[in-house]
Amino acid sequence: MIKNQARLLQGNEAVVEGAIAAGLKFFAGYPITPSTEIAEQCAAKLPAAGGTFIQMEDEIASMAAVCGASLAGAKSMTATSGPGFSLKQENLGFAVKGEIPCVVVNVQRVGPSTGMPTSPAQGDVMQARWGAHGDHEIVALCPSSVEEAFSLTVEAFNIAEEYRTPVILLMDEVIGHLREKVVLPSKEELVVKEREKPSVPQGEYKPFAMKQGNIPGVPPLAAYGEGYRFHVTGLTHGEDGFPTNNPAIAEKQLKRLNEKISSNKEALVKVEEFHLDDAEIVVFAYGATARSARKAVNDARAQGIKAGMLRPVTIWPFAEDALLKVKAKSPKAVIVAEMNLGQMVLPVKRVMGDSVPVVQVNKLAGQLIEPEEILSAVKEAI
């Protein structure tokens, strides 16, 4: 028989396919359920793709090695789950501060602590935003399907490289372990972006310049070994990358660091709007939960209820504008469904204010929320 274009891929596998398609050249990781297949696939596939895989001594070292490799010019990635994600926070903060492009995958399982290693959760959504100390913005993407595990990995690399920032691919165990039929785009269809290189002579290069670069606030990045001989530090630094205690310079740099993300929200924040136009009840859901939500919406529509779904594909920065549009239409309720005790519901409530009731559907013991559970919330809210 002749094969068609499609393949059966596991979510974790699709991440690796996406990463290699995006140009991954370095992976450092430490095994942890339910993300381990990502490391295993990288071990198998990277060397033939001219890249390097290494299993480090722990997650801290993995995150460090990823930063180092990226500064040497390699597109880099690591993958983990909750406990390892907690350990990576300090060096993730370093990547933010040093403006080092890289992709960090967190396939979420039930916490807190060791929790339920093989069961799905969405309990690290707030941690993705706030897990590292100090003020910083973060970009996090949240796939709902194996296809998206592929495409958002490519997107994660593109954002990382374009914005000089770590990007978190925030999966859940359901998507990580799900095998699904997917058609991968051809090389020609793929949009792969590369980091901007400095255009100035070596002596004039300022790795943290305020104004240079294609994207406002994002300075071009040289690679080690190219003769620019630049300095990167986690200390608050000036445009030249050297530490400063001058509050005016510090303030400027810290603002740029944050604004390169926050002021580019329009480009960064992607959502899926499903039957939103006339929706009286809006379900807000992401990741695997959005698949249940989609079924619930369809079922509700079948029963004559005007339901819709807003799915943040970009989970951070927060999809505030899309929600404001929802709010403007004064739906009867927004239902936030998530596999945790209620995390994204907090910003949703903040945006909805006093006028739109926000209802929660939560599940936190390792089971995917079922369409029926959302549907009954929809019915109750109507």
């Binding site: 290494i54 460090a64 180092g68 990226s70 060096n91 990167v232």
Partner: protein, 274 residues
């Protein structure tokens, strides 16, 4: 040999932040001299550090430099070296940075025989945070967190690296500045993981609390206790008491990780090409 300082230092950043008489400047000079004498390509050499007084060194060095998080320099360096094996990667670290919080990365890099040169500015104390004990603080010595004298045993860092399977370990001191330079040269030239335990003085925190009143007195302490490695082996445990060996303590050959990995890539790519 006169040292062309402008070639190697970011002179605009000088003078450095270290205290008067701090040994770290002497170790730094030995590194620069070693690089100079080896004629390393300054555009193909990366210097990585963690956090500490010692870890500030890269800021003064006119190379690609990376000042990372506390204890993690070797792990960052691992990524650099694996991603671009053609670079010379030198790690500058402190005794706290390398042996306290960073101990695990040290032993794993040694085990892997990854071609890094790690130079530990070992002043037996946490200088940057104002004088707490480190895993190298000698028993009985005073530090702000050992106000009654250090109760724990210190590491012997070269022994630790050897125990981890390291292929090159050496020790010298700021007193032995010339030897130190030569040892660093040998370490950089070594194909594989190379560790240099560079004893340095912190007059501000270690010296002051431990009645070693001047930098010279601290260096005299090194002078009096250092025994050339070749003599060490012949000494009885009693003779060794209160002394330590300096020189190259271990040097063996073993496959180096980036080479091994490079061969794998080549193999697989050829296979793929067939």
């Amino acid at each position: 040999m006169a040292l062309p300082v402008e070639k190697y230092l970011r002179v605009a950043k000088m003078p450095h932040i270290w205290c008067p008489g701090c040994g770290h400047g002497i170790v730094l000079q030995s590194i620069v001299r070693a690089i100079h004498e080896l004629e390393l390509d300054t555009e193909k050499t990366v210097i990585v550090s963690g956090i500490g007084c010692s870890a500030r060194a890269p800021g003064y060095l006119n190379f690609d430099t990376l000042h990372t998080t506390h204890g993690r320099a070797i792990a960052f360096a691992t990524g650099i070296k694996l991603a671009k094996p053609e670079l010379n990667v030198i790690v500058i670290t402190g005794d706290g940075d390398a042996a306290a919080i960073g101990g695990n990365h040290l032993i794993h890099a040694a085990r892997r025989n990854l071609d890094l040169t790690v130079i530990c500015f070992n002043n037996n104390i946490y200088g940057m945070t104002s004088g707490q004990y480190s895993p190298l603080t000698p028993q009985g010595s005073y530090a702000t967190t050992s106000p009654y004298g250090m109760l724990e045993n210190p590491f012997d860092l070269c022994n630790l690296v050897m125990g981890a399977g390291g292929t090159f370990a050496a020790r010298s001191t700021t007193h032995h500045a010339r030897q130190l330079t030569n040892i660093i040269k040998e370490a950089i030239s070594h194909k594989g993981f190379a560790f240099v335990d560079a004893l340095s003085q912190c007059p501000t925190y270690f010296g002051r609390r431990n009645k070693l009143r001047t930098p010279r007195e601290m260096m005299k302490w090194f002078e009096d206790r250092a025994v050339p490695a070749r003599n060490w082996d012949k000494m009885s445990p009693e003779e060794r008491e209160g002394k330590f060996p300096v020189g190259v303590l271990t040097k063996t050959q073993a496959p180096e990780l980036t080479e091994v990995y490079g061969q794998l890539i080549e193999q697989l790519q050829q296979r793929g090409g067939e």
